[in-house]
Amino acid sequence: MATRTVSVRRPPPVRHGWLHSAGAILVGLRVTSRHFFRNLWGFIRRKPTVFTVQYPEQRLEFPNAFRGMPVLVQMDNGKERCVACGLCEWACPTDCITIFPAETEDEIERYPAVFDINMSRCMYCGLCEEACPEEAIVMSQNVEIAAFSRRGTLWHKQDLLVPVSKLEKRLQHMRRGYDR
């Protein structure tokens, strides 16, 4: 196969090229340094001007549609609203809910003696909340499942109870969303 030689004309070297590079670096750092000095000034004046959230000291409030960990609604008398009907257990795609019902002498005769959620398995789909006929299990804004052992990610009934007053917004959102 015949070869062909092509001559390429290269541009002549720029005089004092490093000066051009240094200039480009300064241009690039202009944005960074502007933020740096503004943050520094804000920090000195204790009025931060940036969006950084200082977690865990600071926390964001999520929108009502946000689905965090499922929790049990605690009524004003301190008991759970859940009647252990088992629909969430059945609806759960990851099978992370375990319920054992029991009977009481209260007007609501049935309650969950055991209500466990394996939080490491939960995928926050919210089907339990949608299946619940009693508005007893709702998706909270809590997302912190970190624990030192696997056992720590198994939440029992006492860990799951949240007073109804703290869940009012989500309950209202549910009533709008699920056509109740």
Binding site: A84, G86, P101, E103
Partner: protein, 535 residues
């Protein structure tokens, strides 16, 4: 036979039959509450209304005798409208208890409400307030609000048990189901009312608030509690038996079963169950592994089989084991030339309906398998006598019945003199406490095989749950012992053993699991004429 047309399908049916059962048998589902195949016709629910050509109004299918050339339509707008109306009226006073009701998931009112009802309620009036959670008997509770007054339970207590505990009181919209004053619902079949209740008005205390029914898995089986062999469905979940329900078999138990049999599953889930073989060392029973326990039993059997003057061994078979297992047990004694073999059975009360005197499912089967004293051998009381006199040195006892039936003093004397007592049982029974070798046994829910009931009907037992600790079954234990004594004994495989039985025992000739089928197989009548033990 008259020919009728239902929804365009031509159906032939025996004359005099009612329309509803004919339709159901031919796969046309007509919704119904009050009609039950084994009870008289009530016609109170009005759910089974259908259109019959030539009839001016809709008619109820349960009380409509068929007629040649009858043309029936079950899916016309008029019928659907009538069903919706019936559903609406039934739901006027039915409480929204579904989340806490044990019937939810198998409730006819729920099913038909989804299928034929309307989605919204038009009533604004408050529902009736009646007694809930009413204690109406030792095994049953009543929720009067949930009752839809189909009267199935009332007819059951009147027609099947003849005890008349239940009745509908008052009239019109004040009608209410209740027990007769001073007469609790305490008959031996009371939980059947919970089965036939189409809603959750009558509930069994045993299953009350235990588990949602949709989690239950169902396995067809046979009740192990008496010689009647009622067909049951074992309901289990997570390797635990939660309840037993009767399964329809018109030749055995129709659609009923007794409360004792139904509740007699607790030993399956019992925490006291033996989970490991035990061996007596220095006067104490110590857990050992299976090889060791079986080797210990085999050594004793082999030694005593060669005793001067014939084998000094006695064997007591269990009437709770399957035919296959007992066949292996019998093979074991034939291999050792042991003739002192018998079956111990607890004998109790019987009644005219289902309950039989022999309180074990397979005593008949055990005798059929040849577990009877052979030539030169002795039967049960004599066997213990011989042991007490020191003539029998080893006793192999399966099941708890010997401890219950034998003369306690004689049994204690016999155990005193025995060189080795081998006990195979489910729980750590008093007899097991006195044994030298204890082998854990499996329950009816954990094994496959056949039972032969008092009338000679062979019925299938199916494994519902896993055996604890991957424990070998009773037949496997017998096979292993036999394998140590005789060369070339194969592992225990119920279907294969049934083939062996079919080849060896004339009455069981040609029997396979397929032939036994879901409803059992009646042995030839000549073989069936074995009298049952009486109290």
């Amino acid at each position: 036979m008259p020919k009728i047309t239902i929804d365009g399908h031509e159906i032939e049916a025996p004359s005099g039959a009612m329309l509803l059962p004919v339709a159901l048998e031919n796969g046309v589902h007509i919704p119904h509450y009050c009609w039950h195949p084994k009870l008289s016709i009530d016609g109170s629910c009005r759910m089974c209304q259908v259109e019959v050509e030539g009839s001016p109004k809709l008619v109820i299918a349960c009380n409509m005798p068929i007629r040649d050339g009858m043309v029936v339509r079950t899916k016309t707008p008029a019928v659907e409208n009538a069903r919706r109306g019936v559903m609406e009226l039934l739901l006027v006073n039915h409480p929204l208890d579904c989340p806490i009701c044990d019937k939810a998931g198998e409730c006819l009112l729920q099913d038909y409400s989804f299928a034929f009802g309307s989605r919204v309620a038009r009533t604004r009036e408050p529902r009736r307030k009646l007694q809930k959670r009413k204690d109406i008997g030792p095994r049953m509770i009543l929720d009067q609000e949930r009752c839809i007054l189909c009267r199935r339970c009332v007819r059951f207590c009147r027609e099947v048990t003849g005890t008349n505990e239940l009745g509908v009181f008052n009239m019109g919209d004040r009608s209410v189901l209740n027990v007769m004053p001073e007469a609790p619902l305490a008959n031996d079949y009371s939980i059947c009312t919970a089965d036939i209740c189409p809603v959750g008005a009558l509930e069994s205390k045993d299953f009350h608030h235990k588990l949602r029914v949709w989690f239950l898995k169902k396995t067809e089986s046979v009740c192990p509690s008496c010689a009647n062999g009622c067909n049951v469905t074992v309901h289990h979940y997570r390797d635990r038996v939660w309840r037993m329900m009767p399964r329809r078999n018109d030749a055995v138990n129709e659609t009923w079963m007794c409360d004792h049999g139904r509740l007699n599953y607790q030993h399956v889930n019992s925490p006291d169950r033996l989970r490991q073989p035990l061996l007596r060392r220095n006067g104490h029973l110590e857990p050992v592994d299976w090889e060791e326990a079986i080797a210990a039993a085999t050594t004793q059997l082999r030694r005593m089989a060669r005793a001067p003057g014939g084998p000094a061994i006695g064997a007591v078979a269990s009437p709770h084991l399957t035919n296959e297992e007992n066949f292996r047990f019998a093979q074991l004694w034939r291999a050792l030339n042991v003739a002192s073999v018998d079956v111990a059975v607890v004998v109790g009360q019987k009644d005219a309906l289902l309950i039989k005197a022999e309180k074990a499912a397979n005593a008949r089967g055990a005798r059929d398998m040849g577990l009877l004293p052979g030539p030169g051998g002795v039967g049960l009381p004599a066997m213990l006598d011989a042991a007490a006199r020191g003539q029998l040195r080893v006793l192999y006892v399966c099941g708890p019945d010997l401890w219950e039936t034998a003369d306690r003093q004689l049994l204690e004397q016999a155990i005193e003199r025995l060189e080795c007592l081998i006990v195979q049982d489910i729980v750590r029974s008093p007899l097991a406490e006195r044994a030298h070798v204890v082998l854990p046994s499996l329950t009816f829910a954990e094994k496959t095989g056949t039972f032969t009931n008092f009338a000679g009907r062979v019925q299938r037992l199916r494994q519902a749950i896993q055996a604890p600790n991957e424990q070998p079954g009773d037949g496997e234990i017998f096979s292993r012992i036999l394998g140590q004594l005789v060369e070339g004994r194969p592992a225990f495989e119920p279907a294969a053993v049934l083939q062996e039985i079919a080849a060896a025992i004339p009455a069981y000739a040609g029997l396979t699991f397929e032939r036994v089928g879901p409803l059992g197989y009646a042995l030839p009548s000549a073989a069936a004429a074995v009298p049952e033990a009486t109290a």
